[in-house]
Symmetry: C4
Subunit: 216 residues, 4 copies
């Protein structure tokens, strides 16, 4: 079974989830005793901040998903269901984004729980992606197998996301806004990350002649 339709379905889910994020931005219309639009927009900053972080995170998952499946030649039933597990958490992101936006300034246990829930879904999504990657390696479904150096780099890359979100769960109990900022930093890290031998993207089969591979 080829990966075309899995990618099409996943792209659809990513596209809908990333666009639904914006449904929560809506601001109430003008009314007799309402504050000005400027005041409302200013008051709305947690919604915009959560929207930006979640948009960047879903965008990066999509980029990584794209890179991983470029190198997968064959799909089996297990991969289909691990991919569905990943999508389950992606689809939950608009919900936890709304929740953290609503409770970010509530303080106390409410903000902490909203922050931990947000980070928890990101962590679960990150773990699902790692499972997808392991499953792809274990079943020898990669078109171009990884060199040990590439495998180490991939482990480091996934580790940074996983550790960031776990730290975020803890940080949420100290400060929900700080934990949201941390998720934003993780997203920025992935945007600018340029490891030369990015594991899931060996540009050409000739990467197996990469000097690192001589340590195999």
């Amino acid at each position: 079974m080829d990966s075309g339709r899995l990618e099409a379905f996943s792209d659809g889910v990513f596209a809908v989830a990333i666009t639904l994020l914006a449904l929560n931005l809506v601001i109430s219309g003008p009314g007799p005793h309402q504050p000005t639009l400027a005041a409302k927009l200013g008051d709305h900053w947690p919604v915009f901040a959560a929207y930006a972080v979640s948009f960047a995170t879903i965008g990066i998952i999509w980029v990584n998903h794209h890179a991983l499946f470029k190198n997968i030649s064959e799909i089996d039933r297990t991969l289909l269901f691990v991919n569905l597990l990943l999508l389950f958490f992606v689809v939950s992101i608009p919900f936890v984004t709304d929740t953290i936006a609503a409770y970010l300034r509530a303080g106390g246990g409410n903000a902490a729980l909203a922050g931990a829930l947000y980070q928890g879904v990101f962590e679960a999504m990150s773990i699902s992606f790692t499972l997808l990657f392991w499953q792809a390696i274990r079943r020898e479904h990669l078109q171009v197998s990884l060199t040990p150096r590439q495998a180490r780099q991939a482990t480091i890359r996934f580790g940074i996301g996983n550790l960031g979100y776990i730290a975020g769960i803890g940080l949420a109990f100290a400060s929900a806004p700080a934990s949201l900022a941390l998720s934003g930093l993780v997203a920025v890290y992935y945007i600018f990350e340029q490891t030369p031998g990015r594991a899931p993207q060996p540009p050409h089969p000739s990467t197996s002649t990469d000097p690192g591979s001589t340590t195999r």
Copy 2:
């Protein structure tokens, strides 16, 4: 007419329907006399349970749809419309999911009706899928025809879903939560099901040399 665009349109509908499920998860923001977020989330369990079962069910329909159409070489007008009938019930799933989530603890006739409606849409979806399968066989549109053993297995596979949802309609009148749990079990069954000769997925044309085919 090839099946590419039918699959693309169906994938779009599956992707939107599965993502819209999460729109119902939203929790009201903090307010003066409101319970804590933890209390709200705890109180919200029917919404999460219904979301998980519906997500898994749509995911499995998609996997089976994917498997069926891999083996269909040609699409005619009847298949297009039977597929639209299937999508009609898929699109209805977010509605019945919201309804069962809202009424699960209402008890009495309300919960029973909400549960029966939920199971009824799943059953209608399951029947539509069976019609799609029969239509594909009858018109000899399969690229690889089924052996009698494969046809028997396919009948058993579809039967389990159909019987499960019909039993769920009855069970809803005794206990709506139990009927929701039953749908969850049907979904789990399909996730772990590994019948060797899964009918709509003959891996290679060489399956026609399968020992079971000698009984033809």
Copy 3:
């Protein structure tokens, strides 16, 4: 420019619009002085009726769009924008569906206007599709050109939809439910229509040897 991406974008819009129809089905949860779920569902019939008619209509537009573009070899800028015009009315269908569902039993001028608006969007969508078809013929973009008989049949086919929706606009002023029923009949007609030489779907290039073509 090939038609692949136009079809993918259009499929996305069709898929989202058809799935958003179901957002309006939502029923309020149980409450202290609320009627039973059965009473609410019964009271909700205009919503279900409008949903079914709109679903069938969008489904049929999609089937016809699919059939038309199978036979178009090349896309120019005009076709792109006529297609956007068609999508503009498709995207408006969830709105007019909600409106007719809300006002169907309101009676008087309100129901008539809601019905006329519904039929008017269907008529505008139908005219856009006719423009798309004419544009495709005029620019000689069809892979297989139509015989005069096929062209006559295509004109009849489009005419039935156009006349049905225009009649529906008028009928809405007498009875909004009757105009909704008429749109449902138009949809049923297209589902069962089986004209042998359906214009946009010449099965093989050999249709140019069709006897009708001798009258050219």
Copy 4:
């Protein structure tokens, strides 16, 4: 990395964003002291006007995106992220459309701010598209390189959009409805624009023999 999946994901986002625009059209149902449907629809004109302008604008971005990527042979990580930046602003369009529709007649600073926000997102989207175009040229990813005349024309084309939206930000402080009308004019300009050597769409490699290229 080829551009297929980037286009599929982008098409999904464009399709969902353009369809979500219509969610805001909804009109409240009939009630005891409510105005007639005709009065409500008449009162609703800013919603319809904003919907039409935003629909046309997203449609045109999609047409231009389509034209640009037809001529891009290879995608790198930078292009993926610049494309995500473009999609970030596309996804924000339903939000600013709702806001301008709600505040268009509010007058004073509220209407001005709503108008400036609307134009600002369009301008940011336009700048992102220009960045995407520059990035595509700079990295020599175009399959058919541009002649100097084509490059000049492309600069003029992008400039008109950019200047139009910047003018719109200023105009919003004088009159929000006038700024909305200006965005509509920009959209109409792009629909009817027919520059012969449209930069991102060189119809054939033979355009390099275009007389303009002799000035190179």
